[in-house]
């Protein structure tokens, strides 16, 4: 349970960090909090030639909230939860983060690290995809922004090129009328979700569903956003929540692994999905 030897690199600037990634040509891992990478290194599931520790790049943990919220690459989950303006701008993140790992891992684990790692059951990638947020990537070739829905490709596989560094996450600000809910089922609290549901819903004054995003984590190999367009304009009540979740459960192609069978995951999409949707639809939430 000790890592294989690696070169340790601690760049002082983003430019130095991306030059290192280019130099090692895909054989370097970016080290932020290390809450996922550390375990993989210890178990030698990862054996990179080098680690590029980005934690001491000045200002790389900054948060800005203007027309959209932007969280820097080394912002920890704990500091995100403590950031009042960020939590107000992106309430769904505030609902999801308490489900992420534990107090002790949130103290060190980062939002962007979780996104770059792309575990299909992780909360932060799910919230970013549900809200249609973006990932900012930098390399010597320049900076680009990619929608989260295109960034996540497969289990622990993203559209990031080997020489690219995730420099920030971009979160759309929640509208005043948008309601949110989040819940997941895991074997124990803090474990990886078997199924996680994230909902952002807008219900108009007459009680009809105006906009909806239903995100499902842990179900397929990447965070999934269900197609719910057919339900817009319907009365947002418990029956509609059940119908939307049942339709989503029909369409998913769930993972089948040691944690849960595909059938169980499908059943959770139906039942947990209905509960979380109903919670978001409630007028007092």
């Amino acid at each position: 349970m000790k890592p294989a030897a690696f070169e340790y690199c601690r760049p002082d600037t983003v430019e130095e960090a991306i030059a290192l990634l280019a130099e090692f040509g895909g054989d370097a891992n970016v080290l932020a909090g290390g809450m996922s990478l550390g375990a993989m290194l210890n178990m030698r599931l990862a054996r990179p030639a080098a680690l590029v520790d980005i934690k001491r790049i000045p200002g790389f943990d900054a948060v800005s909230v203007n027309g959209e919220a932007r969280t820097g690459a080394t912002l920890t989950q704990a500091r995100a939860l403590e950031h009042t303006a960020l939590m107000r701008a992106v309430p769904l993140l505030g609902l999801a983060l308490p489900w992420t790992g534990h107090f002790q891992t949130r103290n060190r684990g980062t939002l962007a690290g979780s996104v770059a790692h792309a575990d299909p059951s992780a909360e932060t990638p799910l919230v970013l995809a549900t809200l249609d947020g973006e990932v900012e990537l930098a390399s010597a070739r320049g900076t680009r922004r990619l929608r989260a829905r295109e960034f996540f490709v497969d289990v622990m596989t993203t559209a990031r090129e080997p020489d690219e560094l995730v420099t920030a996450l971009i979160w759309p600000k929640a509208g005043a009328a948008t309601r949110h809910a989040f819940a997941e089922i895991a074997q124990r609290h803090g474990d990886f979700a078997i199924v996680a549901c994230a909902v952002a819903a807008e219900v108009d004054a007459s009680g009809r569903l105006r906009a909806l995003s239903l995100g499902l984590g842990g179900v397929e190999s990447r965070p999934l956003v269900a197609d719910t367009a057919a339900f817009l304009g319907e009365r947002a009540d418990r029956a509609l929540a059940g119908a939307i979740a049942a339709a989503a459960a029909e369409r998913v192609d769930p993972l089948n692994d040691h944690k849960a069978s595909a059938d169980y995951r499908r059943a959770l999409v139906r039942t947990l999905g209905a509960q979380v949707l109903a919670q978001a639809f409630k007028t007092d939430s």
Binding site: A5, E7, Y8, C9, P11, D12, G38, P98
Partner: protein
């Protein structure tokens, strides 16, 4: 920029429980191994060594974290707090006394980590509910106690800390 070759040993300097301590580490030396083997502080225990069990939890720059999933070189210059730093003038502190009073340990392997998490937790959340304590404890595995006595000790310590440290806000237990 700092670069350390895979087989190089470098000096790592930390402030540990208020004292400057130095040792040498390779890039791959885990912070937990550095604390035990280089600094000789065996109070920090190593359980699963992949960030799950919480036994190795210490405070780095004021936050409780797993020391087995970070590297000593990452922490160069950081301020550490370990279980060895909890006692005051050779006397158990309030939290440690509450653990003893409530029999909140049997074999004691998980205890150092839980004490360090709780030290951070109570500084941020001085008046926790039982549910909040249990949520914080979800990051630790204890196979002896069933957690009941640990929860009781932490709630008791929190009450005592509130009673004794009322005027000074933000002080750590």
């Amino acid at each position: 920029m700092q670069r350390i070759k895979p087989d190089a040993r470098v000096t790592v300097t930390l402030e540990v429980d208020g004292r400057t301590r130095r040792g040498t580490a390779e890039p791959r030396t885990l912070l937990s191994d550095f604390i035990r083997h280089e600094l000789g502080l065996y109070g920090t225990h190593v359980g699963c060594e992949h960030g799950v069990c919480g036994a190795c939890t210490v405070m780095v720059d004021g936050r409780a974290v797993r020391s087995c999933v970070q590297f000593a070189v990452e922490c160069d210059g950081a301020a550490l707090r370990t279980v060895e730093g909890l006692a005051e003038n050779g006397e158990l502190n309030i939290l440690q006394r509450a653990f003893r009073r409530h029999h909140a340990l049997q074999c004691g392997f998980c205890t150092a980590g839980i004490l360090m998490s709780t030290t951070d937790f109570l500084a941020r959340c001085p008046d926790p509910t039982e549910a909040e304590v249990r949520d914080m404890l979800s990051g630790h595995l204890c196979r002896c106690t069933g957690y009941q006595t640990i929860v009781a000790a932490i709630l008791d310590a929190a009450a005592e800390l509130r009673a004794t440290t009322k005027p000074s806000k933000g002080e750590r237990p």
